[in-house]
């Protein structure tokens, strides 16, 4: 059989333990959401790495353009006053 039609790709997100947010851990192939979740369980949580799994079709992820990196992320760099270290305060105070 030819492989021209692979199962769709899914991105997998894991919550390591309660109180933490989900983090991207990798991707996998599966025909539907249910099997994507089961495959993710087998592939990414063999040692108790998670208490909750999200799977998202890879085609549903929209990403910023890496070539845009400058224009997209530059503005904050000239706004040092957004950081606490910008301000001079008495050193002996807890501030």
């Amino acid at each position: 059989m030819s492989h021209s039609e692979d199962w769709p790709l899914w991105e997998v997100f894991l919550r390591g333990r309660r109180g933490l947010s989900h983090q991207h851990v990798g991707s996998l192939h599966a025909p539907d959401p249910e099997l994507a979740l089961q495959n993710a369980r087998d592939l990414y949580t063999r040692r108790g790495e998670g208490v909750s799994i999200w799977v998202v079709r890879s085609t549903e992820v929209h990403a910023s353009d890496p070539d845009d990196q400058g224009p997209l992320f530059d503005p904050p760099s000239d706004k040092a006053y957004r950081h606490p270290t910008f301000y001079k305060v008495p050193e002996d105070l807890q501030l």
Partner: protein, 317 residues
């Protein structure tokens, strides 16, 4: 297409980013040769994990205790996982999963030649864990700092899982080595057969590996074949003493001046033979992989057909 000025300046900018230790991510521009080298290396690594399940998988039903069977099952399952992490990393470079499987079973892409050796006795399971996984860890630890992000991240995950693989092999051999005389001899025989092939896993000597310079410049490779091999030898010699087993090399001795162990010459002709398809198990390994692929085809199709029908039901409702 003739190279243009902008190609050249992009190449230059790419190299500068690499020199500054910036990780390359999937959607970044990269030289075509970087991409194809990366695809080939990651795919070959993925294929090795998948084919690598076979020599040990053959022993699952014959493991001597329930404890050993559970351990071996878990290890082989890990190797399947390693293969999948790596295929996913390769796919970020624009190749398909099925395409890669096709390249493997038609012999157009390779896997590590170590898996073309047969596993003759139960002690081989120990020798593989201790020596083959040990060599793989040495190699993979260096690759956690490789320049391609998805590959490096897969390596971090894999290394975290590998250490149990080596330990269970060491423990298995230690038990046999301290067992009956026949068990000790079986352990020694396995080490005799796996030692040299394990050293070959690091690839040809630096003087004969033409692609090393470019791979080092691109930081795909961070440590050379010979340096990794030396690292492995230095680490393994004391372990062999603890096991009470000999490494089959009469020239193996500590070199005070170098601060390393010297070891005897490697039979690179044997390596070339096995890579060239003439190892004991090359044909069998591919045949088994092909049968699994063809045997699973109806499952892949059925699951897809089920999903299509579910979709049409939801849209009809």
């Amino acid at each position: 297409m003739p190279p243009t000025n902008s190609d050249e300046s992009r190449d230059l900018a790419f190299q500068e980013a690499i020199d500054a230790d910036r990780t390359v991510e999937p959607r970044d521009w990269m030289p075509e040769r970087y991409r194809s080298t990366m695809v080939r290396q990651i795919a070959q690594h993925a294929h090795s994990e998948i084919i690598g399940m076979q020599p040990e998988g053959n022993w699952i039903t014959r493991a001597p205790s329930l404890r050993r069977k559970a351990i071996l099952l878990a290890k082989v399952q890990d190797e399947a996982g390693h293969g999948l992490y790596l295929y996913a990393a390769a796919e970020t470079l624009g190749v398909g999963r099925g395409e890669l499987t096709e390249l493997l079973i038609t012999g157009r892409q390779k896997y590590s030649s170590i898996f073309n050796y047969p596993t003759l006795t139960w002690a081989d399971v120990g020798a593989i864990g201790w020596l083959v996984d040990g060599a793989a860890i040495t190699n993979q630890l260096a690759l956690t700092k490789t320049s391609y992000g998805p590959y490096a991240r897969a390596m971090v995950r894999i290394c975290r899982e590998e250490s149990f693989h080596q330990r269970q092999g060491f423990e298995l051999l230690a038990e046999l080595s301290r067992g009956t005389r026949a068990q000790h001899e079986m352990a020694q025989d396995a080490v005799n057969r796996w030692w040299w092939p394990a050293l070959m896993m690091f690839g040809p000597p630096d003087s004969e590996s033409p692609n090393t310079a470019q791979s080092m410049a691109w930081k795909i490779k961070r440590v050379s074949n010979d340096d990794l091999r030396q690292r492995f030898v230095d680490m393994t010699v004391p372990q062999s003493r603890a096991l009470g087993l000999d490494l089959p090399d009469s020239q193996l001795r500590w070199n005070e001046a170098r601060g390393h162990y010297d070891f005897g010459p490697i039979d690179w002709e044997e390596f070339r033979q096995v890579v060239g398809g003439h190892g004991a198990c090359n044909a069998q390994r591919i045949a088994v992989r092909r049968a699994a692929d063809e045997g699973g085809a109806w499952v892949r199709e059925a699951a897809r057909a089920w999903e299509v029908r579910q979709q049409s039901r939801t849209s009809a409702a």
